[in-house]
């Protein structure tokens, strides 16, 4: 505080009268220390997310939750269970399958959703898959365009969903940092980042016209650390690929590429057993692993705290060109 401001620290005292003559209530404050009465930030995030999920269920005719099988989806799914407990989740899950997801992901998906008794829909761009679309042949941009963006838009349209939850977080990527919690999409599924609806307080505007839709991001304000913290506290099941284990990988420079697909072939000596794990789950040819010994959730957290690179640094697709995530998002990608 400066000398000047210091002389008048309580302007409220000087100026207690508001313009319509009523006394301004003093701002009650307390020392900057945690009080047991205050909710911790994990509880605050949980409360906010549940509020958002309930608003969507109440305001839309036909919402769906995009389920990508990853850690964020797992947290979002748990929050949906909590939002409606003791009633069941009142909307289905939709998984957009590119055909290139890890086998362990699909096994986990089918087992876990069956266990929970939630309704799971799977959508694939069968034409593109039948035509043999893959990132090596098409390049990652076009491959994502067909197998993810196009499939997603087709799937949403086929079922007539007017709201779709996504597990994206603002701390993941800088164009995501710009997105609203209720993100409006025109009838072509496109995002216009330069003309977003204002979004004040927790009042979400879910009104849309024919063919338009809203993408909803209940995890907007969670960080990667918050997600793991919550998974740990809530004991949320996750795909074992997140945990370190000896795995056979294609080792090229700093990159560790999973050998799941036949077209991912190493040169002699490039295929090695490495103790590693995945930090974010995507399509196997485009998601690099990291060397790691973290085989429990607490160890993942310990590792994360020391981490100097972002979680998407190992995703090949985000770095094709400057602002590639934004471009994909504008076209309708999550």
């Amino acid at each position: 505080m400066t000398a000047i401001a210091g002389e008048q620290p309580h302007l409220a005292d000087i100026n207690r009268q508001s313009h319509n003559g009523e006394a301004t209530p003093a701002i009650v404050s307390q020392p900057a220390q945690s009080s047991p009465e205050r909710l911790n930030h994990i509880q605050l995030l949980e409360a906010e997310s549940i509020h958002i999920i309930r608003e969507v269920a109440a305001e839309f005719q036909n919402p769906v939750m995009l389920y990508s099988i990853g850690k964020d989806s797992s947290v979002m799914l748990r929050l949906a269970q909590k939002a409606f407990y003791p009633a069941p989740i009142p909307f289905p899950l939709l998984h957009v399958d590119t055909g290139f997801k890890f086998r362990e992901m699909i096994e986990f998906r089918d087992q876990y959703t069956a266990e929970l008794g939630v309704k799971l829909l799977v959508w694939r761009n069968e034409d593109a898959i039948a035509n043999g679309a893959n990132p090596v042949q098409l390049g990652t941009q076009r491959c994502c365009g067909f197998l993810k963006t196009q499939a997603l838009l087709d799937g949403l349209r086929a079922y007539g969903f007017d709201a779709a939850f996504g597990g994206a977080r603002r701390d993941e990527e800088k164009s995501r940092a710009k997105e609203r919690i209720f993100s409006f999409r025109d009838s072509a599924g496109q995002w216009d980042p330069k003309n977003q609806r204002p979004e004040l307080w927790n009042l979400f505007n879910g009104r849309i016209g024919q063919g338009e839709s809203i993408r909803v991001f209940p995890l907007s304000n969670w960080t990667e650390l918050d997600i793991w913290h919550y998974i740990h506290l809530e004991k949320i099941p996750i795909v074992p690929l997140y945990l370190a284990k000896e795995r056979q990988m294609l080792v090229r420079g700093d990159s560790l590429i999973p050998l799941e697909q036949p077209f991912v072939k190493g040169l002699p000596g490039e295929e090695q057993w490495v103790k590693c794990r995945l930090r974010s789950l995507g399509c196997s040819p485009c998601t690099g692993a990291i060397r790691s010994d973290a085989d429990t959730v607490p160890k993942i957290i310990a590792e994360l705290v020391e981490m100097r690179n972002s979680e998407r640094a190992n995703r090949i697709i985000d770095h094709d060109q400057d602002g590639s995530m934004e471009l994909k998002k504008r076209e309708g990608y999550f």
Binding site: M1, I4, Q81, P86, A177, L203
Partner: protein, 551 residues
């Protein structure tokens, strides 16, 4: 974890490592969360300051830094200016949300645009902030846009403002210049009734007084910006205020459970508490606070829970459970400060959808009382509000709101106006003063009639419930429309007729000599209620108090 005698030591060590993390996480959870937003005129250095703050506090990933480093120089603003258009134009267009933490606190930053055209995005970022950092370019001092932003921050009820006098490197770290701006800021804060102001000299570009105190401002004895952020007090929750629990959704998984899902907006709720269900006014007690994690002994702001009540109670989305001894106002008329966010100007008489808590109603702007002249911070009379204008308006809603004044409760005191044609968010409002609807709605002479809903059973049930809550006399039947029903309606009832027909909703007013059916071009509950009210079929409660507004 139970360990057997023959447990290998390696496993034991691992568990100790996990335990250390456990402690660390507990410490992490104990940290407070502070939300702050930036404000100020275009190019004052807001994004640069946030980039610098993140970088110097070691809260950015290396790959993110590499992406914004050109010729060995970091462009700090680009750490938050994440849109292509922003990087091309060198300005911020929309809010960027960033997250970081220090040993003391966790922070959510909203870095907002300074450009006047994007004021609504600044308001978006500021609406959830506890602290606003207002930037001032040391070379330029306070500009109109600085005043506009400070004014919005004050209206939004942000208690603490940190004014950062930036680009001190360009004025030779001059104490005189800093003092001069500080005095002007103190004046401004006084005028805007900002209770807690701190002023700090910084260079966002060079990092002076951002994270660490600078040797280049030896005359400044105060804290660095980060130290201020780590120590400013957090406003305490309104836990001693009356309970406000807007119902978001009714949960009825089976016969034996009927719960009301919502978020505690004020007060504390405990099983056994006496509450009132609004708008019906029915009093009952809280039976349980049900959650996935088990039943709770209490729930506080802003927990999202499910309440069950002792008695079968008439409540649905948009209604509220409130403290029986301190209920909110039930009102259709109030004065509010509005920030206008649409190109189409706001004019008296215009109608919008109004969203307030979990309730969306139709609203008419009855009058515009004044507009704030940002240059002089004076209130001028006007007959319209243009884009980015701030003004005082009087609003009338089709259904009563359960509201408090904004200064008492940010949630039950705020609303947004939505354009009825293109559904965009047209404005944001803060309720300043309220004209109560009063208790007696039955005294009014309303004209009644017959409402034929065809085969819409769910709609009929909901209409019946809502009309009853409005104090209307309702008869719901499957009998065909007959003279008997007309007579009953003439006696002062709304007769709800159901049938197996899939026909439009029809309304027959019975006050004339020759009752003629009138097709309601409405399918939705609220629209039908609005239409009925317009036709005079149900009481327009609140009109009798249409005086003495804006005390």
């Amino acid at each position: 974890m139970a360990q057997g005698d023959n447990t290998p030591t390696a496993v034991l060590e691992q568990d100790e490592a996990d335990l250390r993390i456990e402690e660390r996480l507990a410490a992490e959870r104990a940290k407070d969360l502070l939300r702050f937003s930036t404000a100020g005129s275009v190019d004052d250095g807001k994004s640069t300051l946030i980039g610098r703050l993140l970088y110097d506090s070691r809260n950015v990933y290396d790959d993110h830094v590499r992406a914004v480093t050109h010729n060995a120089e970091i462009d700090f603003a680009q750490l938050t200016d994440g849109l292509r258009a922003e990087r091309e134009q060198g300005i911020t267009i929309d809010v960027a949300y960033r997250f970081f933490s220090t040993a003391k606190r966790k922070f959510i930053i909203a870095d907002t645009p300074g450009h006047e055209q994007y004021t609504r995005n600044m308001a978006t970022g500021a609406s959830t902030a506890d602290v606003a950092i207002v930037l001032v370019d040391a070379r330029k001092g306070i500009l109109d846009q600085t005043r506009r932003h400070a004014c919005i921050a004050s209206l939004l009820g942000i208690p603490t403002v940190i004014a950062a006098i930036n680009k001190m490197d360009l004025v030779g770290f001059s104490k005189e210049i800093f003092d001069q701006h500080s005095r002007a800021l103190v004046e401004l804060a006084k005028h805007l009734e900002i209770p807690d102001l701190h002023v700090v000299p910084v260079s966002a570009l060079a990092g002076d007084n951002v994270v660490r105190r600078s040797e280049r401002t030896p005359w400044y004895g105060g804290k660095s910006l980060l130290e201020l952020l780590e120590t400013v007090p957090l406003a305490i929750e309104r836990s001693n205020a009356g309970l406000r629990f807007p119902v978001q959704r009714v949960l009825r998984p089976h016969q034996d459970f009927r719960g009301f899902a919502g978020q505690v907006n004020a007060g504390i709720v405990r099983p056994g508490d006496e509450v009132v269900a609004l708008p019906s006014g029915f009093r009952t007690r809280v039976r349980t606070i049900a959650t996935w994690d088990g039943e709770l002994d209490e729930a506080r702001v802003p927990q999202s829970v499910v309440l069950t009540l002792e008695d079968e109670t008439d409540l649905s989305r948009g209604d509220m459970i409130a403290a029986a001894d301190a209920p909110p106002h039930k009102t259709r008329h109030f004065d509010a400060t509005v920030v206008w966010m649409q190109n189409k100007p706001l004019r008296p008489g215009a109608s919008y959808f109004l969203k307030h808590t979990s309730h969306t109603v139709r609203a008419r702007v009855v009058g515009i009382r004044s507009r704030i002249d940002v240059e002089h911070l004076a209130q001028n009379s006007t007959n319209e509000l243009g884009l980015n204008d701030i003004g005082e308006v009087t609003i009338e809603t089709s259904r009563p709101l359960l509201a408090d004044r904004y200064r008492e409760n940010r949630t039950t005191g705020s609303f947004i106006l939505i354009d009825q044609e293109d559904n965009t968010t047209a404005g944001a409002g803060m309720i300043r003063s309220i004209a109560d609807a009063g208790e007696g709605t039955g005294e009014q002479q309303a004209i009644h009639g017959i409402l034929d809903v065809g085969n819409r059973a769910a709609l009929a049930a909901e209409l019946e419930r809502r009309l009853l809550a409005e104090g209307a006399l309702v008869l719901r039947t499957r009998a065909a429309v007959s003279n008997a029903l007309v007579t009953i309606a003439r006696l002062g009832a709304v007769v709800l007729v159901e049938s197996d027909d899939n026909q439009p909703v029809m309304f027959t007013a019975v006050h004339g000599a020759d009752p003629a059916p009138h097709e309601l071009a409405a399918e939705q509950l609220d629209e039908i209620l609005d239409e009925l009210e317009r036709l005079g079929a149900i009481p327009n409660n609140g009109d009798e108090n249409d005086n003495g507004l804006g005390i």
